[in-house]
């Protein structure tokens, strides 16, 4: 290898290399989905339903006519949650407490929203509500964040526990201080339609989607172009090296956790103030559970996740209709999504065998699981 090899490779080689890379990305992203749909179809057959009819209904319910707008509306909370997850997973931190963060923020927004929009100029109300939701989401990550940063406590467990607690607290709040006094039902007061997030002109889609897209772009920019984002990636890839380089891990962990929680909170605000207008106990859409696979499919790239989320939004919206028509519970979506994840890991394996490029996960992803000693000091593993 001569020294001149360091300078740019000849042009022809770079073109075919790029085509190969694009093909590689396509294969690793699309094939798992296709395989999962096929496998899902087999499950449908086993249950005595028509797979083609089912998938056709997904198209009808998700895209056709003006249904695409419903899908787009669903994209708003999805994208914000995806932004939050991409950020934290890049840091090799498993924030699995998004459900609790989401519901708690939603409860707060639903509790204060109806009153706020009556007493304060609408635009200000929206800003305040978004801020509040973000703050609540972030706050709910504080305990797991500090435990991990200072003691290396496994965050999978702490975030999950906080999530379960958060869901119960949200329930309490809805039944208690935020309860709508005019109804015996356990829910909050409904925000009147004209006081909810306004639609993008010419559509039914509320401007929450714009907030979501902006958030995704910001996250992408921060991760790929800023020094903070680079430090985050270093910590995610190799925490020992991060320490060696003098990166302040504790602060980085806490801030990234808070950022992730904040984005999830924003998702809640967009959903409540844009779509639902109120919240009742027992409602747990658990968006995050089904978004995780797509965050991985996009290889933790905030830009690439957008088309995947769009796909899932269609799947989710159309899937509701299709499940109804086929007399199936809507939980069937979980099966599809679980299958997508499984096929994705298999494709990853095959891809690795033929060295089609780097894996979708930062190499140091497993290290976070070890205890305090393991996080900062890797035993000679190999």
């Amino acid at each position: 290898m001569s020294e001149s090899a360091v300078t740019a490779a000849p042009a022809r080689r770079s073109v075919s290399l790029r085509v190969q890379k694009v093909a590689d990305v396509v294969i690793r992203s699309i094939v798992p989905v296709v395989l999962a749909l096929v496998a899902g179809g087999i499950v449908l057959l086993a249950l005595g339903r028509h797979p083609l009819g089912f998938y056709g209904n997904i198209w009808t319910g998700g895209v056709q006519g003006s249904a695409w707008q419903d899908s787009a509306i669903r994209m708003a909370p999805f994208l914000l949650i995806a932004a939050g997850l991409t950020l934290i997973f890049r840091a090799n931190i498993w924030n699995l407490g998004y459900n609790g963060q989401f519901l708690l923020s939603a409860a707060v927004v639903s509790g204060y929203g109806p009153r706020l929009v009556e007493h304060v100029p609408l635009w200000l109300a929206f800003v305040l509500l978004f801020l509040a939701a973000g703050a609540v989401g972030a706050l709910w990550t504080l305990v797991p964040a500090v435990l991990k940063a200072w003691y290396g406590t496994n965050e999978i467990i702490t975030t999950l526990m906080m999530s379960f607690i958060g869901i119960d607290i949200a329930s309490l709040l809805i039944k208690g201080p935020f309860h709508d006094p005019t109804t015996p039902l356990p829910q909050t007061a409904v925000v009147p339609l004209e006081k909810m997030l306004p639609p993008i002109p010419g559509t039914r889609i509320h401007v929450g989607l714009l907030v979501a897209v902006a958030a995704i772009l910001v996250v992408h920019f921060v991760l790929t172009r800023t020094s903070w984002g680079l430090r985050l990636q270093i910590m995610g890839a190799n925490p020992r090296a991060a320490r060696h380089f003098g990166i302040d891990l504790k602060r980085l962990i806490v801030v990234s956790f808070l950022g992730s929680g904040c984005l999830v909170g924003l998702a809640a605000c967009a959903d409540i103030m844009g779509l639902w207008g109120y919240i009742r106990t027992g409602w747990d859409p658990a968006y995050g559970d089904t978004i995780i696979p797509f965050v991985f499919l996009a290889r933790l790239n905030a830009l690439a996740v957008i088309p995947f989320i769009a796909f899932f939004a269609v799947l989710s919206t159309g899937g509701d209709l299709a499940a109804q028509q086929a007399n199936l519970p809507t939980d069937f979506i979980y099966v599809l999504v679980g299958l997508i994840l499984l096929f994705m890991t298999v494709i990853e394996y095959l891809g690795r065998q033929r060295s089609l490029g780097t894996s979708y996960l930062p190499p140091g992803l497993r290290q976070a699981l070890r205890g305090p000693r393991g996080f900062f000091r890797k035993k000679a593993a190999a």
Binding site: T153, V335, T345, Y349, A382
Partner: protein
């Protein structure tokens, strides 16, 4: 009056322990399974899904078979089958254990929910009470042994409870005094050493994960059969994750798993107990308590939670 308060106290405390056993047993089986896995170096996040598969198939087995034992066997088989996915993808192919675990949980939740609802949503069948097996002499002890107010007496539990406790003791012996146990520990501490000693790391871990799935399936089956007497979608409500916490806190010691499972079982069955004691708390607070207890336990203890060094690392011979 005095007699009444004495009876009240006795009922309360036996109910505490009995209730704790009942609610804690699914946790115990699952956590013991997770202990085996973690000792061997595999972190199993898919426990929730495996428990649910076990619960549903256990319910099916007991319902159609008319017998709790058929249910338990069905649950074991279902859990083992679900864990087979992890064996193939994680142990054999070396793919990421967390991602696959999440996938198993999602798919498990979805499939059991769909299957149950398509078949039973109209009828919501319940299973009968599970036969209990009294310990011959102990159940004659007055006050503690006898059934009071319909609550299961302390020394007369379903047979599977005794089996579970015996299994925990047996597992301790296996870890410390058998070759199997040594191999497991080596696989988790330093798989290269095990490989150099000529034992297949892949085989060791495969058996460990299958055992975990079987035990989680058994735990789920017990929950459906003896615990709630039926199946509901998402029946486990996070107990799979609780089992992971218990396994981590117990640091690989089966008897500690039993102790922690009992504690968390008591926390889980708190609402019934509080009713007996005449204390009224809203359902949400009662539901929250076990998880809050875990957070507190983690804050206090988790600094010392011990995880084997090779946990969650796939093993490839000669790799860097």
């Amino acid at each position: 009056m005095i007699l009444a308060s004495q009876v009240w106290t006795q009922i309360f405390w036996t109910s505490v322990i009995a209730g704790g056993l009942l609610a804690g047993l699914p946790l115990m089986f699952t956590a013991l399974g997770e202990t085996i896995s973690e000792r061997a170096g595999v972190l199993n996040i898919g426990l929730e899904g495996m428990m649910l598969c076990g619960a549903y198939c256990g319910f099916l087995g007991a319902y159609y078979g008319g017998n709790q034992w058929i249910g338990y066997l069905a649950g074991i088989a279902a859990g083992a089958l679900a864990s087979l996915v992890m064996v193939v993808l994680c142990v054999w192919l070396g793919l990421d254990q967390i991602v696959v675990g999440i996938a198993i949980t999602l798919a498990g939740e979805g499939i059991t929910s769909v299957l149950y609802q398509t078949r039973f949503s109209g009828s919501q069948p319940r299973l009968g009470n599970v036969a209990t097996a009294p310990i011959p002499l102990l159940d004659r002890i007055p006050l503690i042994g006898k059934a009071v107010n319909g609550q299961t007496p302390l020394f007369s539990q379903p047979l599977v409870v005794y089996l579970g406790l015996a299994f925990a003791i047996g597992l301790t012996w296996v870890f410390r005094r058998t070759n199997v146990g040594l191999n497991l520990r080596a696989a988790g501490e330093k798989p290269e050493a095990l490989d150099a000693a000529g034992v297949s790391v892949v085989a060791t871990r495969s058996y460990a994960v299958l055992a975990t799935g079987a035990l989680a399936g058994l735990g789920g089956a017990y929950l459906a059969i003896a615990g709630t007497g039926g199946f509901q979608p998402f029946l486990t409500q996070g107990q799979g994750y609780m089992a992971i916490v218990i396994a981590m806190l117990a640091r690989g010691r089966p008897l500690a798993v039993v102790a922690f499972s009992l504690m968390f079982g008591i926390a889980l069955s708190l609402s019934t107990l509080l009713q007996i004691a005449g204390i009224n708390l809203s359902t949400e607070i009662v539901n929250m308590l076990p998880f809050a207890a875990i957070i507190v336990a983690l804050i206090v203890f988790a600094r010392r939670a011990y995880l084997p060094p090779a946990l969650a690392l796939p093993y490839v011979r000669g790799a860097r």
